[in-house]
C-alpha cells in the first residue's frame, strides 16, 4: 500500500497537472462526427453550424465531480475567446434534463448544453468516462481528446493554437498540453457503424446471410474486456467497449480478406 501511495503521490498526480508539450503528427486527423440536437433552452444545436469555429465539445454530467470543476473554466474560455472564434458546447449525459437546468443557472453557463444519448456517444467512439472533452479545429477535425479533468490552462494553450489557424486548413504541428493518457486516441464512428446490428462495425457491404453468419461467429467468441459476455452481446450492450469493437472489426476484416 505504501508503494501504491508513493506512486500515486509522486508519479501519477504531479504529471496530471504538469504542462507537458508534445507535437502531434498531422495529416491523419478524423473529422468530428456531425450531430443535430436541441439544447436545453429549445434551440437547435447543429455541429455543422460551427464549421469555421474552434469547438470545445464537453461530455459531462451533473453528478460528476471532476466535470463540475472544469465548467467555470469553460465559461471563462467562452467569455475570453468567443470573439476570436471559440464555441463551447456541453453535452450532458444525465438521464434527464431535470438536474441540468438548475445546474446551468447555478454555474452561470454561457454556452449551449444539450442532452446526449447513446447514438451520439457512439459516434464519438463511446464515452466511457467523464469529463471527455474534444477540441475541434476550424476545419472540423478533432485535434485533441481529453479524458478526465484537466486544468483550464491546458485547454487554453491548445485553443489558442487552433484559433491561430486562419482558414479551414488543417493545423500543422499542433502541440498538445497536459498529460497524455491512454484512451485519448480519437476513434469516431460513422452513422452506418452506430446504426449497425453490431454497433461500431459497418456491415453495409455484407449480404443478409453474411451478416447472420458474422453475428453467429461473434456470439461464439468471448470478449476479453472482462464483461463476461460474448463479443456480440458486449457490442450490443456496451457500445463504448473498444476491446469488443476491435475484436469485431478484426473478425470482419479477416472474413473479408479470406473471401477476397
Amino acid at each position: 500500500m505504501v508503494g501504491l501511495y508513493l506512486i500515486n503521490r509522486y508519479w501519477i498526480r504531479p504529471v496530471t497537472s504538469l504542462s507537458v508539450k508534445a507535437t502531434e503528427a498531422a495529416g491523419n486527423r478524423v473529422m468530428a462526427p456531425e450531430f443535430s440536437l436541441t439544447d436545453i433552452d429549445g434551440h437547435k444545436l447543429d455541429l455543422a453550424d460551427y464549421r469555421g469555429k474552434v469547438v470545445l465539445l464537453d461530455f459531462w454530467a451533473t453528478w460528476c465531480g471532476p466535470c463540475r470543476i472544469e465548467i467555470p473554466g469553460f465559461v471563462e474560455l467562452e467569455n475570453r475567446y468567443r470573439d476570436q472564434g471559440l464555441a463551447v458546447i456541453g453535452i450532458s449525459l444525465d438521464d434527464s434534463v431535470d438536474p441540468v437546468g438548475p445546474f446551468y443557472k447555478e454555474f452561470r453557463m454561457n454556452y449551449p448544453v444539450a442532452l446526449g444519448d447513446n447514438k451520439l456517444t457512439a459516434l464519438y467512439g463511446g464515452i466511457y468516462a467523464m469529463p471527455t472533452t474534444f477540441l475541434i479545429g476550424r476545419d472540423g477535425r478533432i485535434y485533441r481528446k481529453h479524458l478526465g479533468a484537466s486544468d483550464v490552462s491546458v485547454f487554453e494553450e491548445e485553443i489558442k493554437e487552433l484559433l491561430a489557424a486562419k482558414g479551414k486548413e488543417e493545423v500543422k504541428g499542433f502541440q498538445t498540453y497536459g498529460r497524455p493518457a491512454s484512451g485519448e486516441q480519437v476513434e469516431v464512428s460513422t452513422p452506418a457503424e452506430v446504426n449497425s446490428e453490431v454497433p461500431g462495425v459497418d456491415l453495409t457491404g455484407l449480404t443478409r446471410a453474411q451478416v447472420e453468419q458474422y453475428k453467429k461467429r461473434l456470439a461464439g467468441m468471448k470478449c476479453d474486456c472482462g464483461c463476461g459476455r460474448n463479443v456480440l452481446n458486449c457490442r450490443k450492450e456496451d457500445s463504448s467497449c473498444q476491446v469488443s469493437r476491435k475484436i469485431a472489426k478484426d473478425e470482419l476484416a479477416k472474413s473479408t480478406k479470406s473471401k477476397a
Binding site: G3, L4, I7, N8, I12, R13, T16, A61, T62, W63, C64, G65, P66, C67, R68, I69, L93, P99, Y128, A129, M130, P131, L147, G148, A149, A181, S182, G183, E184, D224, C225, G226, C227, G228, C241, Q242, V243
Partner: protein, 218 residues
C-alpha cells in the same frame, strides 16, 4: 506460499489483480461466494503490485472500473421462521471509489443494494456502513466514499412456512464510480445467494466470520 481465503474476505494477490482490472484471473460475477485455494510467490506479489499501480493510472485499460460483489450468509444454513445475518461484499478496484449510501453532497449518486424477495426469503433491512472521508481535487470538503472492500450488512428473513430445501436470492449493487479525475457512468453488479433451509433440529454452523466481523448491523 499457499493460503486459504474466502473469495470475498481477506485480500490476496488474485483479488488485487482482479481489482486492477485483470478480471480474467478470477471471474465470479453473479456467482455465490466460495472458499478458494490459491498460490502466491514473492515474484507474483511484486507483479500484482505493479499491476495495481498501473490501475492507479486510472485510464489504463480504457474501461470503466467494475465492482465485483457477492452475498454471504453468517451461517451455513437457515431455519424456517428465522432472521439471519447476511452481507454483501463489494470490491472496488484500487484507485477508484464509489459513493456512500448517504453521500456527502446532494448531486452524488448513492450506492444501493436491491435484493428481490423470493418466497420464502426476503430482506428485512440493509445496514450501509459509513464511508471513509476522502479529499478530492474536485471538491473543497472531504467526501464520504467507499473504496477497497465494502461490507454491507443485511437481515434475511426466512418465512415460517419455508420447507427444507435450497432457495436462491438475487439482487444487485448499484454504484457510480469515480477517481480524482474522472467519473464513470452508473453501473450495477449482480449478486446471487443460495440459501439452504434445514429442519429446526439441525444445528447451524457459523461461517464467513471474517466478513461478519467487518459488517455493521446498526
Amino acid at each position: 506460499m499457499i493460503f486459504r481465503r474466502p473469495s470475498c474476505g481477506r485480500p490476496g494477490v488474485r483479488r488485487l489483480m482482479r481489482k486492477a482490472g485483470y478480471r480474467n484471473m478470477v471471474k465470479r460475477e453473479g456467482r455465490e461466494c466460495a472458499v478458494e485455494r490459491g498460490g502466491m510467490s514473492a515474484k507474483g506479489a511484486g507483479f500484482a503490485l505493479a499491476l495495481a499501480a498501473m490501475a492507479l493510472a486510472v485510464r489504463a485499460d480504457n474501461r470503466p472500473p467494475q465492482v465485483q460483489a457477492c452475498i454471504v450468509l453468517a451461517t451455513d444454513a437457515v431455519h424456517a421462521g428465522s432472521k439471519v445475518k447476511m452481507a454483501v461484499v463489494a470490491e472496488v478496484p484500487p484507485g477508484f471509489h464509489i459513493n456512500d449510501h448517504n453521500p456527502t453532497l446532494e448531486y452524488l449518486i448513492p450506492t444501493e443494494i436491491k435484493i428481490t424477495a423470493s418466497t420464502p426469503l426476503s430482506v428485512e433491512s440493509v445496514f450501509y456502513p459509513r464511508g471513509d472521508p476522502r479529499k478530492f481535487t474536485f471538491e473543497d470538503k472531504p467526501l464520504s466514499v467507499y473504496a477497497g472492500t465494502v461490507v454491507i450488512g443485511a437481515l434475511l428473513e426466512v418465512s415460517t412456512s419455508a420447507a427444507p430445501g435450497e432457495y436462491s436470492l438475487q439482487g444487485k449493487i448499484s454504484y457510480q464510480a469515480c477517481n480524482d479525475q474522472a467519473c464513470f457512468p452508473p453501473a450495477s453488479a449482480p449478486v446471487t445467494l443460495k440459501v439452504k433451509v434445514v429442519g429446526e433440529k439441525v444445528r447451524l454452523k457459523p461461517v464467513n466470520q471474517d466478513v461478519f466481523r467487518r459488517a455493521s448491523f446498526k
